[in-house]
């Protein structure tokens, strides 16, 4: 890590990629700060992998430039860029043993004594006893760690990870997420991680860029993206959101809207666009922010909370929580996640309920977008319930 004199920032300026008439990546400006764990998140075909491949040099951008630190590397072939990739399928060389695979990059740069570094790397990924094995003798998780070691040993300015955990089963994936995060903290190299798994992006990354249709929809820290989505796509793709179409009746520091006959408050600074009286607004709230009270107990709800009345149409017990689906005049199939602390036996499908939450947890989105953007590929459970 001595060669990072010019800094490991990755800067993309106006970079785009078109294949014939199809635009995979629209002109894009992006800066990945040195030493950060950066995730490119999106559904398949959103241009995230193409963006990664342009940083690696495996794909030529149709326009724009790629900078590593202050150096323009746009026209450098992949083998001259101080960047290494962990491929989705690992792409380990089947005719070489594990230590030869790991030493490949060092040898290509004319480094003769590789043994010590290879051993250190094997230690880092906890595969010391597998040095003489061939890749096909290793399990998926082990191959994945070899792929990481093979890239990291070169001390790249940036490590690119192309869905590296996609082929692993759930449990192993969680384990590898932690391990990758540990390695990143240990070596301090900039990681750019491509994934379609929003949970993976949120647990691992410092910064997440949500991509959709070849564009970055929103960029920020995971918590910020989750709490303050600026588009319906982000609201739906990252976790689940209840989105209610509403009409603005009052503007100011608190925006008041009506939906389905009831009034709701939205903090003015949590609305994406300039709100005007009489205009439309999409009001959003996360399912876990909502509390559920039986209609008979409506009187005991504290003043100043947003309320929506409705009827439970479905409930499923998940263990930690119970997930309810509520139909209301304000919106159909609202999701509510209740912690299983004190369960109210009256909250069963068919029951009349009041949904209430702190107005501070409400966000407002531009009403000119599809309510359903980003729902495909979001956390699976709700989608399944929706269908039934």
């Amino acid at each position: 890590m001595t060669e990072n004199t010019t800094g490991g920032d990755v800067r993309l300026t106006g970079i785009s990629k078109t294949y014939g008439s199809f635009t995979a990546v629209h002109p894009l400006d992006l800066t990945v700060p040195q030493g950060s764990f950066f995730a490119l998140l999106g559904a398949s075909g959103c241009g995230k992998t193409t963006t990664l491949r342009m940083i690696a040099g495996l794909e030529d951008p149709s326009a724009g430039s790629v900078f590593l630190g202050d150096r323009d590397v746009t026209d450098l072939p992949p083998y001259k860029r101080p960047v290494n990739t962990v491929f989705q399928s690992y792409a380990l060389f089947p005719h070489m043993d594990i230590s030869e695979n790991i030493a490949f990059g060092l040898r290509r740069r004319g480094i003769k004594s590789v043994k010590k570094q290879v051993d250190e790397m094997l230690e880092l990924v906890q595969l010391g006893d597998k040095a003489k094995h061939k890749p096909h003798q290793l399990s998926g998780g082990q191959q994945q760690r070899v792929a990481v070691a093979r890239a990291l040993i070169n001390h790249p300015q940036v490590l690119l990870l192309d869905e590296p955990l996609g082929a692993l089963d759930l449990k192993l994936r969680r384990q590898m997420q932690l391990e990758l995060k540990r390695i990143q903290t240990e070596v301090g190299i900039t990681f750019v991680h491509v994934t379609h798994d929003q949970e993976e992006a949120m647990t691992m990354a410092d910064q997440v860029a949500v991509m959709n249709g070849g564009r970055v929809e929103q960029l920020g820290a995971p918590a910020d993206l989750y709490e303050n989505p600026r588009t319906t796509f982000v609201a739906n793709f990252l976790g689940t959101s209840n989105l209610i179409e509403a009409e603005v009746v009052e503007t100011g520091s608190d925006v008041v809207v009506t939906a389905g006959g009831g009034k709701l408050e939205v903090p003015g600074d949590r609305c994406t666009d300039a709100v005007r009286r009489g205009g439309k607004l999409l009001v959003g709230v996360r399912p876990e922010k909502i509390s559920l009270a039986h209609a008979d107990d409506a009187g005991s709800i504290a003043d100043g909370r947003n309320r929506v009345t409705g009827r439970i149409v479905d409930s499923s017990f998940i263990g930690v929580s119970t997930q309810y689906v509520v139909n209301s005049p304000a919106g159909a199939e609202l999701q509510v996640y209740e912690q299983n602390i004190e369960r109210d036996a009256r909250l069963v499908p068919g029951a009349e309920v009041v949904l209430h939450w702190n107005p501070a947890h409400t966000f407002g989105l531009d009403a000119d977008q599809s309510l359903l953007a980003g729902t495909v590929g979001a956390a699976g459970v709700e989608t399944v319930e929706d269908a039934s």
Binding site: A56, G57, L58, P77, P78, Y79, K80, V83, N84, T85, F87, S89, A91, L92, F93, P94, H95, F104, G105, R108, R109, R150, A151, N154
Partner: protein
Amino acid sequence: MSTTLTKEAPGPVEEPVLRKPPARKRLVPYWLLLPGILWLVVFFALPLVYQASTSVQTGSLEEGFQVTWHFRTYVDAFAEYWPQLLRSLLYAGTATVLCLLLGYPLAYLIAFKAGRWRNLLLVLVIAPFFTSFLIRTLAWKTILADDSLVVDALGALHVLDVTSWLGFTEGERVLATPMAVVCGLTYNFLPFMILPLYTSLERIDGRLHEAAQDLYASPATTFRKVTFPLSMPGVVSGTLLTFIPASGDYVNAELLGSTDTKMIGNVIQSQFLRVLDYPTAAALSFILMAIVLFMVTVYIRKAGTEDLV
């Protein structure tokens, strides 16, 4: 496997009794093997034994041949025909190397660069098989004839001066020279080189090339360290499929060569059909077989592809 497991499980742990598949099911593989085995016995093993016995017989066509264990035939045959044997190996070896040099780039192109033309190109590779081997070789006779376009062009380019100086051609002639025979062999066996090469190149995951380039390997180094080693199974089977039949070939030397370019195949053919000296012909066949077997074994060992082929 399953039967031995059930019998040899006297351990204290009670193992689940593995059910033996019914006898009919266990015999299926052998029934499937039967036609092939019969074919090999009748058309390969028996003729081989017959030929082995012929090689140690003495006699003449008029008096009949007797097995006399006359191993001397081998020594005599080798002593008399070693130049033709050596020439066969030399010509076949040269043709194999030429096939590899011509075939590898073509197979590489078809496997990685041809895109939608891939299938058409593959058909073109095997297209020559739609005509008979003899006709194709006769066609080369026309191509390489004196004062033909090709020969005149080679002469004008002074290529023939160089090849004549090296002893491959004679003056302004190409036909009836070693070069003509080697050209014929190369041409006729080229598809046998290209197809296995193509199959093993085509199997290589393109992402391995990307991975190599990502790890600081230039395109040339990527080829040397990744593509070529991974195509070794194709190189080995291609060279074997070319070298083995080429070393026993006699058609090319017969049609394109002269008396000075006789290969061992021509000798065996004439011993069998013209001189009617069956023992010598059989002995020569065995000598050739032994030499080729020996060379192939050494080659496969050297190529170190035991876990790739």
